[in-house]
């Protein structure tokens, strides 16, 4: 009997299992346990959360594999890890240690300013960031089996996450009204593979799971992204840079499940302690913004 691994269905499928869930950034095995106990559907293992990468500056690289392995040992849920844009050797290393998903992430310093990783070459699935439909479909064309809107990581300001989610959803809505013969020029206009433009029109949604990311800090932020049509939420600095991470993490998990129930959202928003301090993206110099990384 033939057994196939690393197939497109397998790669896309794990992301489908994460839907309706919260993926949390963690920097220690202890954080990972707190996240799992709070109901995270997966964790992102890294050395520094985006807010600290911003604060400390310097080159941000793949985390120490030893740290990632310790986090993999600490929890039973899937563990993701980040590599730099275009750094396919970091990706090979992450695949070799057995992470469940690789995030080719703009949060780290890009290793290639023209090319992303050819993700079809790997058995491990990849998630990539996007700001609009064209960028999402280019990444899927390269083999990303999951997409996340970029937002502006490490700010606690949801405005960019909303902008990017609205861009993707709005463009898919426009696509739905287009005639078949308009699709080729639209594909050219947004710089996306024609076949994926066609598939997106037929499905009425991205061909892979699409999470929100970058700036989600409260249960209300998370539910907002779900009501806008995202499949789930990444929370980076928003949990472990807040006053009571365990409580806030559990509240955001509940908010993603019950995102349409305002009375539950009110209940889980109570007494969460201090949120992360946050930075207002509109007052941030262009050079400090990271969502523009990616081509």
């Amino acid at each position: 009997m033939e057994v196939k691994t690393g197939t497109w269905i397998e790669k896309k499928g794990l992301a489908q299992m994460l839907k309706g869930g919260v993926i949390m950034d963690v920097v220690t095995p202890e954080h990972a346990k707190i996240a799992e106990d709070a109901g995270a559907c997966a964790v992102m293992a890294l050395e520094r959360v985006p807010a600290d990468i911003r604060a400390q500056g310097g080159v941000a690289r793949m985390s120490d594999p030893e740290l990632i392995l310790k986090i993999m040992d600490a929890v039973s849920i899937p563990v993701m890890a980040k590599c730099r844009i275009g750094h396919f050797v970091e990706a090979q290393i992450l695949e070799a240690i057995g992470v469940d998903y690789i995030d080719e992430s703009e949060v780290l310093t890009p290793a290639d300013e023209a090319h992303h990783i050819l993700k079809h070459n790997f058995k491990v699935p990849f998630v990539c960031g996007c700001r609009n439909l064209g960028e999402a479909l280019r990444r899927i064309g390269e083999g990303a089996a999951m997409i996340r809107t970029k937002g502006e990581a490490g700010t606690g300001d949801v405005v960019e996450a909303v902008r990017h989610a609205r861009a993707v959803i709005g463009e898919i809505r426009r696509l739905a009204t287009m005639a078949e013969e308009e699709l080729m020029s639209y594909a050219k206009e947004i710089g996306a593979p024609y076949e994926l433009v066609k598939e997106t029109k037929e499905l009425g949604r991205l061909p892979v799971v699409n999470f929100a990311a970058g700036g989600v800090a409260t249960p209300a932020d998370a539910a907002l992204m779900m009501q806008l049509g995202m499949d789930g939420v990444f929370v980076g600095s928003g949990i472990f840079k807040s006053g009571d991470p365990a409580r806030r993490a559990a509240a955001i998990v509940k908010a993603v499940t019950h995102y349409q129930d305002a009375s539950i959202l009110a209940d889980v928003s109570k007494n969460l302690g201090e949120p992360m301090v946050g930075r207002n993206v509109s007052q941030m110099p262009e050079a400090e913004r990271i969502a523009g990384r990616g081509w």
């Binding site: 196939k4 691994t5 197939t7 499928g13 299992m17 839907k19 869930g21 491990v124 998990v253």
Partner: protein, 192 residues
């Protein structure tokens, strides 16, 4: 006939789409009152720890156990874990089926696989004897079945990947991720 899909976390939308293809009325279940008027329930794939915690937090454990006494339930992957009696570790379980389940039994994501299975019950229920193509994702196995639970399918090395106990079904794999509706059709034959 109206079938609910537990929609706390996971790929519940895929199960709902599958049921719609079979022209079955569906409902998403997030709170105990959503079980009213349902004839059967599917517990989807997802993270069993997340689903368990949310079921506890919103007082779904007892209502789900009572629902399973009288109605058909299909648990896929995380759902098979949640419906079982024993998984050898401490997390919320419905304990409805006499099966012992081991989580992530085939390894991590890079070990996830697709393969064909021979499931005689599907042939009886649907008249088709084509092999059943099954998708396993960080899948659990059913280590053993007890009571009057019976084995429905195994992989070639003998590990159990589907079981039935009366009107309750558990699978390690994801019938909702292929275009083959036969497993859902079989489930619907168990609904009163």
């Amino acid at each position: 006939m109206k079938i609910g899909v537990l929609a706390l976390q996971g790929d519940f939308a895929e199960h709902i789409a599958m049921l719609k293809r079979l022209k079955v009325e569906t409902a998403a279940v997030r709170l105990p009152e959503h079980l009213n008027g349902l004839d059967g329930l599917i517990i989807p794939g997802g993270e069993s720890t997340t689903i368990g915690k949310l079921a506890v937090a919103y007082n779904l454990m007892e209502p789900l156990k009572q629902f399973g006494q009288r109605h058909a339930i299909l648990g896929t992957c995380a759902g098979a874990i949640f419906i079982s009696k024993d998984i050898g570790r401490d997390q919320p379980l419905l304990g409805l089926m006499d099966i012992k389940v081991q989580r992530n039994a085939f390894g991590r994501q890079i070990d996830s696989f697709e393969t064909d299975l021979d499931i005689p019950e599907l042939k009886q229920a649907t008249g088709s004897d084509a092999p059943y193509h099954a998708v396993f994702i960080r899948a659990p196995i059913i280590e053993s079945v007890g009571g009057d639970a019976k084995i429905l399918a195994s992989v070639p090395d003998g590990r159990i990947v589907a079981a039935q106990q009366g009107h309750l079904l558990a699978t390690s794999f994801h019938p909702e991720l292929t275009n083959d509706t036969r497993f859902h059709e079989y489930f619907l034959t168990l609904v009163d």
